[in-house]
């Protein structure tokens, strides 16, 4: 008998399925194992695996760079615009890939959900973690570009992990909401795909936030992702970059972020016990 069952005769309540059924340790181990194997599968299965996954952001980067430096001519007036664009695309790409894959994740794992005792939360989180591994690899490339473009390393680079954790938190929270609602409302997937695309333009990814004015500009500034991208720009690329510090534009995104996280936990906890029945 294993050490974990040192007192095997102590009766414990069976509480039914939940977000973290089976305890933290088991959930974390499963999370790591699933994300790691999935990651390995994508990158070590094929010789060009990693290069392929890098192709998408790089191609998008090349197209957008061409558009914004030669057609719209926004880029030429922004310091280090190409690397700023690349970094932003990689960061937003993580959010988009993570959430889009997470939407259907619980449904796709139907067999596991319906036939094993599986902590529900692990499923969307594994998707986010896999995307996070991906992000870290991509960021290595981004930093090579940043150095190649002559950006001088700054002490604020050390703050970058804070931003990454922040982004991961939002991504995880949104993934939790989407993946738990999707089994009940199948059009969540379509709605989110459209919404995420809209969000791409409503977030200062392609442009610096100070270039947008008027009502749209205010809307962009209220987006919970905006401060993150503004800070990333200032901390990594241009120490003199504009960051909106008006109280309204600090408080609203913060409240929204906290709201998303709280509702994610609430919705997921509410749905988790019944997900197996809704499938």
């Amino acid at each position: 008998m294993s050490a974990t069952a040192s007192s095997p005769l102590e009766l414990r309540d069976v509480r039914g399925p939940s977000a973290l059924g089976g305890g933290w340790r088991r959930s974390l181990e499963l999370l790591y194992l699933i994300a790691a194997t999935e990651f390995k599968r994508t990158y070590f299965g094929t010789a060009l695996g990693y290069l392929w996954s890098l192709c998408r952001p790089l191609l998008l980067f090349a197209v957008l760079l061409a558009v914004f430096t030669h057609v719209v001519r926004l880029g030429s007036s922004v310091l280090h615009y190409p690397v700023l664009l690349l970094m932003n695309i990689v960061l937003f790409g993580f959010f988009q890939e993570g959430t889009n894959t997470a939407v259907g994740s619980v449904l796709n794992q139907e067999a596991i959900v319906r036939k094993t005792q599986f902590p529900r939360l692990v499923i969307p989180m594994a998707v986010v973690l896999t995307s996070a591994f991906n992000l870290i690899l991509n960021l290595v490339v981004v930093f090579i570009f940043i150095l190649a473009f002559g950006v001088t390393p700054m002490i604020t680079w050390l703050l970058f992990p804070v931003l990454l954790l922040w982004l991961a938190l939002i991504t995880a929270a949104v993934s939790m909401i989407l993946s738990s609602l999707y089994p009940r409302f199948r059009d969540v997937g379509i709605i989110w795909a459209v919404f995420a695309t809209a969000l791409f333009y409503a977030t200062p990814v392609l442009y610096p936030v100070e270039r947008i004015s008027g009502a749209i500009g205010k809307l962009v500034a209220l987006n919970p992702l905006s401060p993150l991208f503004e800070l990333a720009r200032r901390w990594i690329i241009d120490p003199h970059a504009y960051v909106n510090t008006q109280p309204l534009y600090v408080i609203v995104p913060t409240v929204l972020t906290v709201g998303i996280c709280v509702s994610a936990v609430w919705i997921f906890n509410r749905e988790a016990p019944r997900i197996a029945e809704a499938l």
Partner: protein
């Protein structure tokens, strides 16, 4: 519906292994579960938005109503019932896949549910990776799972294929691997749902050997099945569930008998004939004859029934008792009788392995027109209360005639109605 002394058949003996003294490891109290099945399922936000005020209407399916039972340490506990009786729902609640609406289940020790073999296997991963993943799923730590890897691969006899992706495995290899994972997970309580349905007879045998070994090692096994042969030969106790209620808990023979009765009685739509157990004795033949001595399928009302049954013993049966029940279509016992071997002076009361016994004769027929069947119960070691067999439906026949009446039998009633002189 009970099998009692009044029917003249051997009183049902207690379970072969006495378990009640051991500590309880699964305790279920008044577990209920109701599924709400919508008449029209709303599964998009669009529909929600376009019909915001239509209340969803549900049909309530009461899958489980106040189920209570105990399972003791080291017990092999069977849960039987027809399709839709709620047995799988119960298992899923025990396995934390569904949440019970009411009641309470408590368990002691690490639990490994096996609702289906090979769930959670990812075909894109190698068996090495799958084993690690499944081990953690079964509640092992990653370290433990890694340690067990070799044992699993050895048990499955798949060592040389450890680094092959699972999608390249044959289905037989997959089943072996899945089963090996399950065995090596070494849980304190194993919940098993019909996993034996997969694989061939040899595999099923291997499964049962393993379960028995687990039980010998003090592990508790809960098996959901509708294979009565398994229940009768392996379970210490069994529980019969019907319509979400516990109908019987106790002796597996009795549970199997009641299960058969539920199946063969009633609507008759599930007149299963397969799965007749023949572990200790084998049925060679059973038939009815009419008064002229011809074999018949059905008998005429009032005509004496020629009754013939031949068994062959598979093991030595000591002090065997052959009990027969005649049951009506609704599962009620109409009558029954027991027979022991007719022995010469000094002959031991043993039916040796391979010997055949014939039970035959004629039976008075007072049965009303309708459908009847005969089931049998063979027991041995009567004084020890050790049941050897078996519940099986021997015969299924009609009594035809033109004088129907209330109840299953007619009796000679020498009764007249006369006008009383006042």
């Amino acid at each position: 519906m009970s099998i009692d002394a009044e029917t003249g058949v051997t009183a049902v003996a207690s379970a072969p292994r006495e378990m009640s003294g051991r500590p309880v490891v699964i305790e279920a109290r008044d577990v209920t579960k109701t599924f709400r099945i919508p008449h029209h399922r709303i599964d998009s936000l669009k529909e929600r938005a376009t019909h915001p005020f239509t209340r969803q209407r549900f049909r309530e399916l009461r899958a489980l109503r106040t189920i209570s039972f105990d399972v003791h340490l080291g017990e092999f506990f069977g849960i039987v019932g027809r399709n839709g009786s709620g047995k799988s729902t119960l298992l899923k609640i025990m396995a934390s896949i569904y949440r019970a609406d009411g009641g309470r289940i408590r368990m002691a020790g690490r639990l490994a549910p096996f609702i289906e073999l090979g769930v959670g296997f990812n075909p894109e991963l190698t068996s090495r990776e799958n084993v690690a993943l499944n081990g953690v799923l079964m509640g092992l730590s990653r370290q433990e799972a890694r340690c067990k890897l070799d044992a699993v691969l050895d048990f499955a006899e798949l060592r040389e294929f450890a680094d092959l992706k699972l999608k390249n495995y044959s289905s037989g290899m997959m089943v072996r691997l899945a089963f090996a994972v399950m065995v090596e997970a070494d849980a304190d309580i194993m919940l098993i749902d019909e996993v034996l349905a997969v694989g061939d007879a040899a595999f099923a045998q291997k499964c049962m050997d393993v379960f028995r070994a687990r039980r010998e090692a003090g592990k508790t096994v809960v098996l959901v099945t509708h294979d009565m042969a398994t229940v009768q030969s392996f379970c210490d106790r069994a529980m019969l569930i019907h319509d979400g209620e516990v109908r019987y808990i106790g002796d597996p023979e009795e549970a199997a008998l009641r299960y058969y009765r539920l199946n063969f009685a009633g609507d008759g739509q599930q007149a299963a004939t397969g799965g007749v157990p023949d572990i200790n004795a084998r049925l060679i033949g059973a038939w009815l004859e009419n008064a002229a001595g011809e074999r018949v399928e059905n008998v005429e009302q009032g005509e004496r029934i020629g009754f013939n049954v031949i068994f062959e013993a598979r093991h030595d049966l000591v002090n065997p008792v052959f009990g027969f029940h005649f049951l009506s279509a609704d599962g009620r016992i109409v009558f029954g009788f027991n027979r022991t071997l007719e022995l010469a002076e000094g002959q031991p009361d043993v039916l040796e392995a391979g010997r055949r016994v014939r039970i035959s004769g004629s039976i008075e027929n007072r049965l009303m027109p309708g459908r009847y069947y005969v089931s049998t119960l063979i027991s041995r070691n009567r004084s020890h209360g050790d049941l050897a067999l078996h519940v099986l439906r021997l015969l299924d026949f009609m009594v035809y005639g033109t004088q129907p009446g209330p109840g299953p039998v007619s009796m000679d009633a020498d009764v007249e109605a006369t006008l009383e002189t006042s």
